[in-house]
Amino acid sequence: MNFNETKIKLDKIGCGFCLAKWTQVTMHLHNGMTHSCHHPAPHKVSLEELERNPTALHNSKTKKLARKEMLEGKRPSECQYCWNIEDNSTSFSDRVFKSSEPWSEPHFEDITNLHWREDYVPKYVEVSFSNVCNFKCVYCGPLYSSKWMEEINKHGGYDLPSMEYNGFDEIEKNKTKPYKHSEQNPYVDAFWDWWPKLYDNLDTFRITGGEPLLSKDFWGVLDNILSSNTPNKNLKLSINSNLGVDDVLINKLIDKIGKIIEEDRIKECIIYTSCDTYGGQAEYVRHGLNFETLFNNVEKILTKLDKVTVVVMSTFNIFSIFSYDKLIEKIYNLKVKHFNTKRYWNSPIILDTSYLRYPSFLSFRLLKDYVTKDYFENFEKYMIFNSSYRSLNFYQPQSIEDVGFSLKEIEKITRLKEYFESYEKDDKFYTDKRDFIDFTLKYDIRRNLNVNNTFPELKSFLNDN
């Protein structure tokens, strides 16, 4: 079914009807928040609700009311991201894309025949068990990193000219303080109660964090898959990891995933990691990262797990631009080195570039008029030259000549360029720039870093007050 047909089918139920409200969930078990796709803000599941219904981790009252609206032909306000696209462009919104996914579309009839009060077992589940993490990346915060939590506990938030960054006020106001990894967590308990039913019905299960490899529950999931007498062989398992943990844990991951694959217990396994630029500049952004260790571990995984693909997620920010070309080249060399025809996906390693929006003072748009679009054109050119010129999204490589960047990987770079070119400075630009300069001063002091040494390219930018 094509996207147009999907939209027509959805609209027959209602102009706001979206299957993802049933089929997809991200559960932040470390603080009891949930949402379906990432566009609506997460909402809290109360402990009372959880006690009545453990599946409220997904089938919360808030979500059920949104489903009711959808079935009644209304548009829930929390899904405004999609209504903006549908009302202001001819493009398809994520409502259509997600409803077209293989984990949504086949369940259309079942869902439309359900009463809005009924619970539904989701098919695409993303879960974070804990915020325990050994990194404190510049764009993250205490909700998703215990290292950030330690820093804020000790020093407070970053008091910048226009805002407080990563202070506790928002957390306290929204009651989203994470449980400690060592604490009993009723949300995690509810998850494990639900797990047997969840597992049997899953299309995709993605584990994030914090750093999953530091979470006992992450290993619990793998052990559960390994010990199941009726493994869900349709399961697509995705694991987020900074791959910057101890060797013992990396080797443990490789052993367990290797066994799961060998015993044919899943359909595929993809490992997602993160890196936003190259070398020392990448280490400045993702505090705790050792660039060489990361890529040694990436190579170890690609060598020992010859079916697995590693996706390098890049949150392109103000610090990314100056050595991003080297990251792109490194990814390409790994595509060539680890090519085989056995991988679950069509490349051993994929670069997935998205641009950072929050916090706005770290956005690369602040470099408007400081750098030219030449940077992005050079990234694009390198990737196009090394693309084998086809959309590898739909093509399984047959030989080494097929190795290269896919159109999707290139398109993400083009989006950066277009966003940069189209951006026009406004008042927020100057506010954000002041915040950025102040932030780097304080960041350097707290973490014993030196932005001028690490980013000599930014010298005059930082001195321009």
């Binding site: 196009i384 084998s388 086809r390």
Partner: protein
């Protein structure tokens, strides 16, 4: 980069990065580049080397064009570098310029050559020094229109095998620059200058052996497909 004997490259296509068809980036004939020979002002920069033990035909093609006798070659029969082309004057006229001071030992050490056309004058520079100017009348023959440039051959598709002129050859630079014939400027040309139509320093070669165009354009060069090699 070494171009192997009977494995020449061609400068023919530009990659249209804005056009995707059936999941592929479209490449299309770049006729503007292919027909640059007919413009009034342009320059061809060519740094190459042919070792004495390299495989080559009697006339070793450095670069050429499909059509009758166009290009730069080393003629081992007369032990001289030669540039040849044809013009139209009711009947075609053949121009053969022999650089008899350029011998095989010079070619084997490496040569930095610039050929400029300024209206009806070709000028030839070796290592930045003018060695010959040649005036001609009439326009180049139409055979040279809408056809690729070749590197490592004169014309692989020629009916007469003697006109194909394959060579094993090392290239370190090949570039075509429009509207610039000053040798001083050409010697320090920036690949990103607007009037650089293509610029190959042969440092970036991809997995399918294409060579990257370091100018602002997307005129990658590729091995001539086997079906075009006679």
């Amino acid at each position: 980069m070494t171009i192997e004997y009977r494995n020449p490259y061609w400068i023919k296509y530009e990659w249209d990065i804005k056009t995707i068809q059936e999941g592929k980036i479209v490449k299309k004939d770049n006729f503007e580049l292919q027909n640059v020979l007919f413009k009034e002002n342009y320059s061809i920069i060519c740094n190459f080397k042919i070792n004495e033990d390299y495989l080559k035909d009697e006339k070793a093609g450095v670069f050429g064009k499909a059509g009758q006798n166009f290009g730069l070659n080393f003629d081992s029969k007369i032990d001289s570098l030669v540039f040849e082309f044809r013009t139209n004057n009711k009947s075609p006229k053949f121009h053969c310029l022999i650089f008899d001071k350029i011998k095989s030992e010079d070619i084997s050490k490496g040569l930095n050559m610039v050929i400029t056309r300024n209206k009806n004058t070709f000028s030839f520079f070796i290592e930045g020094q003018l060695i010959k100017e040649y005036n001609f009348h009439d326009e180049l023959i139409d055979d040279y229109k809408n056809s690729p440039f070749f590197l490592g051959a004169l014309n692989p598709g020629a009916k007469d095998p003697k006109d194909r002129c394959y060579s094993q050859i090392d290239f370190s630079l090949f570039s075509i620059v429009e509207n610039e014939t000053s040798i001083e400027k050409l010697e320090s040309i920036n690949p990103k200058d607007e009037n650089v139509l293509c610029y190959y320093d042969f440092k970036r070669i991809n997995i399918i052996k294409n060579v990257c165009d370091e100018s602002n354009n997307y005129n990658f060069i590729e091995l001539v497909p086997k079906e075009f090699i006679s």
